[in-house]
Structure formats: structure tokens, C-alpha cells
């Protein structure tokens, strides 16, 4: 049960509130309904008592006590007392509970219904409801004990009893009850519906927040907006500040790594040049320098790439792939004048992320294609929904089948790689996978006349 509840409530705040009000609201409704019914019933009885009391006074005012008992007019002013089974009855008993007078209306009523109470309470009124079995009916009974001086100056104890049928009261109460529950029930439903609506409206900013967080996650936004309710805006502001400082920290880290690479490689360059110029050229030292160089390049750049793999990637600039390829083609034309590079990319292809990352990926792969191509390299792109596919094909000899998988493996250790063998490519692979993208290589898959390697990069945003 607990498990079920936790599954239910963990899913959404709305469900949590809905469940809570579903339990609490009916309780409140039942409680207040009962209270209202009781109050109504109470006031009903009070009113009835007052009515009976009025009758009592009327009766008292017309009563004359003779020696043989109380004398009352044949026809009383209250017509219901003169009419049989009218629902209003009057009795007068003496101190020994013997009926000394009864109204015309009460003639069909058995005497036994009268309270058999021998305690005499002078000048006290007593109101009670009695359930009478035969005929089954609920009766309101008001009794009043009094002493009366008769013509012989004897003090006579008399009890006036006014009885009324409670059937109308019950009918009134029942109709009140059913109307009350109807109203309270529909109010409850309306309240729950209103609460759901209020909750939905109240939780709207949170819904918007989760939407914006999703955008942050898939790199289509850089910051959360600043138009949230004042209760959550401080949290949003803090979050935005963290995003900004995280980005700055990351840039600092990147620069530090870059500087570190720089300061390590300059001495390596000195060693390398010293080796070349010295008389005793030692190939082993030269080879080890190459290895150190590869390890530095690889590990430092991988470290930078790994920073990009935080759950929320904040480098979310929108970069035109077409423009980036154009830039690279211009400079590749300088470095590889014998290669003709054709840009068939779509102008609407966009990359969401860090410009340096796209530059590194495309730079390395286009550079490879130019190195291995004979005369031509063709780059084209394909957009589909949120996917961007970039294909770079050359007219070289292609990649040997058994190497097609290994050259694209992530995390290939730099110290096992031979010089010039795909350090750039492995960096590109790392960057691509840090964006959740994919890279594949095949032969003869490019343009019909390009029978070399074809690298296919796919990003989803």
C-alpha cells in the first residue's frame, strides 16, 4: 500500500495534491454536513418547543379549576385541538398521572403514550421526543407541572401535557438532509475540480522550467529565462549564475589545458630540434619525444572534451555548418593546393554547441580526407528533423575493411598509436561522442566518382 502510494505520489505534484484533497475534502464535507444537520435539527426542536409552549399558555389561560377538576371550554381557540387526529393533542393529568382532561383531538390516542413520570417539578417545563410504537410515530411532548387553587381553596397539582406529531418535522429534516448532501457533494466536486485547475495554473511555471531545462540539455538554450514567480526566481537566478560561472570555469580550464600543452610542447620542440642538429642523432630519443608529444596532445585534448560531457552542455551557440565548411575549405586550399574540395552542404544545416569543437571535428576529418585523397574531396550535409548528417568523401584508396572499425574506436591509447596515425581522428571521435553523435566510415559511399573513404558524422539536437 505504501509502495503504491509512493509510486502514485512520486509521479507528479499534481497527483500528490489531487490525492490529498481526495482524502481530506470528503472528511471535511461529512463533518460540516453532520454539524449543519445537527444545528438544523436543534433549531427545529427549539421552534417546536416554542410552538407547544404557546399552545400551553393558550390552554392555561382558558382553564378553570372546579372542585371536580379542571374545566375547559367545549371548543378551544386552536382548531387543531378540536379536530380528531389533527396532530396536536392536549392532556391534563393530576398528581397521580390520571388524565383529568383531554382535548377532542386526542380521543383516539391511547393514554399510555403519556410520560409516566411521578416526580412533580413545580412550574417547570419539560420537552422531550418520544418514539411511540403503536401506532408507530414520533411525538413531541411538552409537559408543565403547576399547582392550582380550586374553589374550595384546596391546592391541586396539575400537569399540562401538549403533544404534537413529529412526522412533519421528520419530513422537513429528511428533505433538508438530502438537499444538504446534494449541495455539499456538488460543492466538493467543484472544489476538487477548482483545485486541479488552480494546481495546474500554479504549477505552470514549474512545467515551463522543466521545458527550459530540457532545452538546456539538448543545447538549444543557454540560460533559464527571468520571468518566473518571485518564489522560485531566486533559485532560477542562482541556477543561471552557476551556469555562467561553470561556463567561465570551463573556458578557464580549456585555456589552462591549452597553455599546459603549449608549455610542454615547446621544450619538446627544442629537444627535437637539438636532436636533429646534434652530431649523434639518437633515433630512440626522437621516437620517445614523438610518443610524449602524442600522449600530451591526446590526453590534454581528451581532458577538455571530457569537460564538455557534463549533463547540461552550456555551449549552445547555433553554428552554421555550411559557413564552417566554407572557412575550412578556404584554408585547406592553401595547405593542399592539389586537392579540389567541393562544398555541397545545405545552408540550413546547423550545429548546436561549441564552435571550437565543430572546428576540431571538421578540421581533422577534412584534413585526413585531403591527405588521403588524390584530387578531390566532397562534403555534403543532410538535415532530417533534429539530425544533421555531414559526409566527407575523398577519391583516395579508402580505409581497409579490417581498419574501418578500429580507427574509430574511442579512447584508443595514444601511446600505442603509431605516429601520424589518427590522433586527430580519435580526438574527433571523442568530441562527437561527447555530443551524443555518431561517426562511421565506409568506402565507395560518397559521390559516384569518389571511390575513397567516406566519413559520415551524425549529430542529433
Amino acid at each position: 500500500m505504501n509502495k503504491l502510494l509512493s509510486v502514485f505520489t512520486r509521479r507528479s505534484l499534481l497527483q500528490r495534491f489531487f490525492l490529498a484533497s481526495l482524502i481530506i475534502l470528503p472528511l471535511f464535507i461529512i463533518l460540516s454536513g453532520t454539524l449543519l444537520l445537527n444545528t438544523f435539527h436543534h433549531s427545529q426542536l427549539n421552534a417546536e418547543e416554542e410552538k407547544l409552549q404557546a399552545q400551553l399558555y393558550l390552554l392555561l389561560s382558558v382553564t378553570e379549576v372546579e372542585n371536580n377538576g379542571p374545566q375547559l371550554p367545549e371548543a378551544l381557540t386552536e382548531p387543531r385541538l378540536n379536530q380528531q387526529a389533527s396532530g396536536l393533542y392536549a392532556f391534563i393529568t393530576d398528581g397521580k398521572n390520571t388524565v383529568v382532561w383531554r382535548s377532542t383531538s386526542s380521543e383516539l390516542l391511547p393514554i399510555s403514550l403519556l410520560p409516566q413520570d411521578n416526580t412533580f417539578r413545580l412550574n417547570q417545563r419539560l420537552f422531550s421526543q418520544v418514539m411511540f410504537e403503536q401506532p408507530k410515530s414520533l411525538l413531541n411532548i411538552l409537559s408543565y407541572d403547576t399547582e392550582w387553587v380550586n374553589s374550595n381553596d384546596e391546592l391541586k397539582r396539575l400537569r399540562f401535557i401538549i403533544v404534537s406529531d413529529a412526522a412533519t418535522l421528520i419530513a422537513e429534516l429528511n428533505s433538508y438532509r438530502s438537499r444538504l448532501w446534494q449541495w455539499l457533494g456538488s460543492m466538493g466536486i467543484a472544489l476538487i475540480l477548482a483545485q486541479v485547475f488552480i494546481m495546474r495554473w500554479g504549477l505552470q511555471p514549474l512545467k515551463r522550467l522543466s521545458g527550459q531545462l530540457a532545452k538546456l540539455q539538448n543545447n538549444t538554450a543557454t540560460q533559464l529565462s527571468d520571468d518566473y514567480p518571485i518564489e522560485i526566481q531566486p533559485v532560477i537566478d542562482d541556477f543561471n549564475n552557476i551556469l555562467v560561472s561553470e561556463k567561465q570555469q570551463r573556458e578557464r580550464y580549456r585555456n589552462t589545458m591549452s597553455d599546459l600543452a603549449h608549455s610542454l610542447k615547446t621544450p619538446l620542440a627544442v629537444i627535437q630540434s637539438q636532436l636533429s642538429t646534434s652530431a649523434h642523432h639518437d633515433p630512440i630519443i626522437s621516437e620517445q619525444v614523438d610518443r610524449i608529444d602524442q600522449i600530451i596532445s591526446h590526453q590534454l585534448r581528451r581532458a577538455v572534451v571530457r569537460v564538455n560531457q557534463s549533463p547540461i552542455n552550456h555551449h549552445t551557440d547555433k553554428i552554421s555548418v555550411h559557413t564552417m565548411i566554407e572557412r575550412l575549405i578556404k584554408i585547406m586550399a592553401k595547405v593542399y593546393p592539389s586537392i579540389t574540395i567541393t562544398n555541397l552542404s545545405s545552408k540550413s544545416s546547423d550545429f548546436y554547441g561549441d564552435e571550437a569543437d565543430l572546428l576540431e571535428v571538421l578540421g581533422n576529418i577534412i584534413d585526413n580526407a585531403c591527405k588521403h585523397g588524390n584530387t578531390a574531396v566532397v562534403i555534403d550535409t543532410h538535415n532530417e528533423l533534429n539530425n544533421v548528417t555531414i559526409r566527407i568523401s575523398d577519391d583516395g584508396t579508402g580505409v581497409a575493411h579490417d581498419q574501418q572499425h578500429t580507427i574509430l574506436q574511442r579512447g584508443t591509447r595514444a601511446d600505442t598509436a603509431k605516429p601520424g596515425q589518427g590522433i586527430g581522428l580519435s580526438i574527433a571521435v571523442d568530441i562527437i561522442s561527447s555530443y551524443g553523435g555518431e561517426i562511421t566510415v565506409s568506402n565507395n559511399a560518397g559521390e559516384p566518382h569518389l571511390l575513397g573513404a567516406c566519413f559520415c558524422i551524425q549529430f542529433s539536437f
Binding site: A269, L328, K334, P337, L359, G363
Partner: protein, 225 residues
Amino acid sequence: MRLLLIEDEPILRNNLQQFLMHNSYSVDSAEDGREGLFLGSEHPYDIAIIDIGLPEIDGIDVIKQLRSDDITFPILILTARGNWQDKVLGLEAGADDYLVKPFHNEELLARLNALTRRSKGHASPEIHIGVMVINTASKAVNVDGSEIALTQYEYNTLEYLALNNTRVISKTELTEHLYDQDFDLDSNVIEVLIGRLRKKLDPDNMLKPITTLRGQGYRLTSTHP
């Protein structure tokens, strides 16, 4: 070939200078961007090697400044960072090729050769002028199938004339491109060099490969026996 080397690391600069001079370049070197920019704007170099991270003026800015002053000699950049952002910045600023530190001197030499050749409009390392074949990569000269042994300065003079064989090259230009800035321009060393070259290339005085245009300079002409 006269080369400008701008590199702030003294040992690397000296080693490179030694190595390049050994490979028939006349080298002027600068240790910071300001000095490098001054040298680059003052002298007609055939090629320059510029490190990106330089004191005073950044390597990228040196290249931009040189290019905006219409200085067109090819530039090879040295970068320690090796990321494409740096390469792209350098190449977009006006450099023509890049080399990532550390590098092998042989690779540097190959790149320099390719760059100078391309800048003079020669796609192949072999330049054919009549029966004469000059291999700029191996620095070998063949006349009619037989190899001619040349000293470094003789070869440099011939290569410069060959790379620019569509023009007349003045004595001053030759001097500027063959020797570094400390060389005395008034000496007649160029005339001596040309005389020795003529003797070695054409001992029988049949081909007459180098024509003297009085008051203008020298030109390499198609040689047919």
C-alpha cells in the same frame, strides 16, 4: 632563399637557424613579434616561419599586419597548441601552411620547399629549363643527364634564378635573397658566383644558360645545345 624566422624560444631559434642555414637558406631571425614585423616589412624575404605565441606582438597579428601591408611571401606558422582553432586563425590571418610543435626538421624543410615552389608558381619540385633539371627537394642539378656538383651558394643562386626564370633578377635582389641582412651589398661576390656557375654548368661555353642584361641583372634562359 632568404628566410625570416620569428621564434621566441632561444634554443629552438638557434637550432632552426643552424639547420636552415645548413640547408642553403639565408636566415634572419627575430625573438619577438615587434622585431619580426620590422624585419618582415623591411626585407624582401622568400618565406617566413612564424611562431604563433610570441611576446610583444602575437604571431597572428604579425601575419595580419604583414598581409595588410601587401607583403606576399609565403608564411609557415608554428603552433604548439595543435588545435584547429589556432590553425584556422593563423591560416585565415594569411599564413599558408602550419606545423605543430614538436616537429621533425625534415618535415619543416619539405614544407618550406613546397611553399616556396608554390609561391613561384611551380607545382613540381623539379624545374626543367632546357636540358637543365633543378630538383629543389634534393638540391641536385642535372645538365643533359649528368649531375653538376655545386657549392651551397652556387646552388642557391641558380635555384633563385630558376624559380624566377620569367624575370630579370638584379644583383641587389639576388644579394637580398641569398644573404642575410648583415651582408655587404657593395662587394662583387655575386659576379664571382655567376662566373663560377657559368663555368660549371657550361664548361664548353655552348649553352650560355645565364644571360647578363647590362644595367638590369641576370636571367636564366632556355638552354639548347
